[in-house]
Symmetry: C2
Subunit: 319 residues, 2 copies
């Protein structure tokens, strides 16, 4: 574990770079004036499959043996990892079976099927995610690919932060969403190595506080499924691997309310002209709300995903 | 007129490059599979002020004398040129007065005021745009900046096509919206010079057919204000300058229906995760609808603007 570092991410970068999109870094003078910082938005909502998850999924598939790929892979996901793994599996010609919560956004379920995966639905409020995943793996003899609790996932995700710094130069702070922690473990590793002293801040829904509490208590807490519009953050426990990385690298945690998330989604729509899902806008939400202040600094923001239907988007923004 | 060419655009490029955003070119394998071509989306909806218009407005302001800038500039615009000129004027410290139709999208009126311009409203269904503009110019002693009928505007706009080809290499076809023709005159000039033999296709609303008819008849026709959701295309006559350029370079014209425009906006939202206004999506609309076919070709698309409020967007997409 102590060995997970920048090298893992640079190696992953070599694996994924021909397949993932080098997403643009968008900026806005209006935004900079509003928050008093230079804000660099790494737009993983524009990534293939609509989120950063494709990086880690592809990196993990690439690490499997031929025999494992022939057996096929499975996962449990509310949507973004599902689509990412489905496409990554298709790229390697491997079968994929995805267990998705019944109340996952229909657009995500449809997209996952569209990438050729078999989708099995389950009730996330009655069966823990990891238990559901284990059952599927054992019954079908598949290779389980965690959405967040695996160094290969974090190494893949970290390539987004690596590209941000390669393209824009050093940053003083990185703000990113934290769901299960898989993305943050990768970003934090890159920023810690390349921008020593930079602040690394995770943002989660106020309704969750999963990472906030886990880091404060020095141990992973388990919570009820949080009811939040940020469906990418409805986990009940942090991944063991990312938790250790986040603890070691002293990741700060803050929260954003549902209203702050909606305000950020609306801002990104009307001013930046990009579509974000709630968990994709949550890092900017904390900056816009003033929960995080970084006066005069260069602040990288991971805009992690944009998988939301137009109608769902509209209904969320209604008063 | 015969002298307007690539040099004008490359000169404009030198003038605007430090100020305009070099907008990303987005791609989508899903889109490519759907239309059977390699589609390169030049995202001017992500440009400063939310449309390509900032390029031409800034280039024109840069050409004025100190005395002219001190007098101030004026324009008539349904919105995108208004915002673009307002910001360009502010960058040069020049006053700007913008005449806007009463039924222009509120988000565009608000943004224009936000950039520091004085906004005067008029009824576009009772007073021709050019007449309204002349009156304002004469009464206030301002320098009139056309939204589309000026080589400086076209030279500025052309820099978007120049960047597209510089960043992505030669293309076999360019598809772009045509309102007054100012943008197309610039793009066509660049593509004709750098990609000889490439198709150059303009798209306008089916409810307008202004450029289609003007080019077919060999003369600029004047029409009633077309009632279309593509508010960037509600002109009643093509600009004299762009008309000549489009005729000389044999620009093809096709049209898109309101439903086709909405389908393209929805596709860009849900698959590309970007926000477009109706006239910004119209070029892709014609390709998605099959009106233009370019099998196996590399097709550049100008996504010209994204100035639309979230609520208006939602209401357009309701059945």
């Amino acid at each position: 574990l102590g060995q997970f570092g920048l090298d893992d991410v640079t190696r992953a970068s070599g694996v994924v770079s021909d397949v993932v999109l080098r997403t643009p870094v968008l900026t806005s003078r209006t935004l900079d004036e509003l928050v008093g910082a230079k804000v660099l938005l790494k737009c993983e909502n524009l990534q293939r499959t609509g989120s950063f998850k494709f990086r880690g999924a592809f990196n993990t598939l690439a690490s499997l043996t031929k025999e494992e790929r022939e057996r096929g892979v499975c996962a449990v996901s509310s949507g973004n990892h599902a689509q990412a793994l489905a496409l990554a599996a298709r790229e390697f010609g491997a079968p994929a079976v995805i267990l998705m919560p019944e109340d996952a956004p229909p657009v995500k379920i449809a997209a996952t099927r569209g990438y050729g995966a078999e989708v099995v639905l389950y009730d996330r409020y009655s069966l823990p995610q990891d238990e559901a995943g284990r059952r599927l793996r054992d019954e079908r003899g598949l290779v389980f690919v965690s959405s967040h609790d695996d160094p290969r996932i974090s190494a893949g995700a970290g390539t987004a932060a690596l590209e941000l710094i390669q393209d824009e130069g050093p940053i003083d702070a990185l703000i990113a969403p934290v769901g299960g922690g898989g993305g943050m473990a990768g970003y934090a590793t890159v920023v810690d190595a390349l921008c020593p002293g930079a602040r690394i801040v995770g943002v989660e829904a106020e309704a969750s506080r999963l990472a906030t509490r886990s880091l404060a208590e020095g141990d992973r807490v388990r919570i009820e499924v949080p009811r939040t519009i940020a469906d990418g953050q409805q986990l009940t426990i942090l991944g063991a691997f990312p938790f250790e990385v986040m603890r070691r690298l002293d990741v700060e945690m803050v929260t954003a309310t549902e209203d702050q998330i909606l305000a950020a989604m609306s801002f990104l729509f009307e001013r930046l002209k990009i579509v974000t899902e709630p968990s994709g806008a949550i890092a900017l939400a904390a900056l816009l709300a003033g929960t995080i202040r970084a006066p005069g600094r260069r602040v990288g923001i991971i805009v992690s995903g944009g998988n939301i239907g137009a109608r769902r988007f509209a209904s969320l923004l209604e008063p």
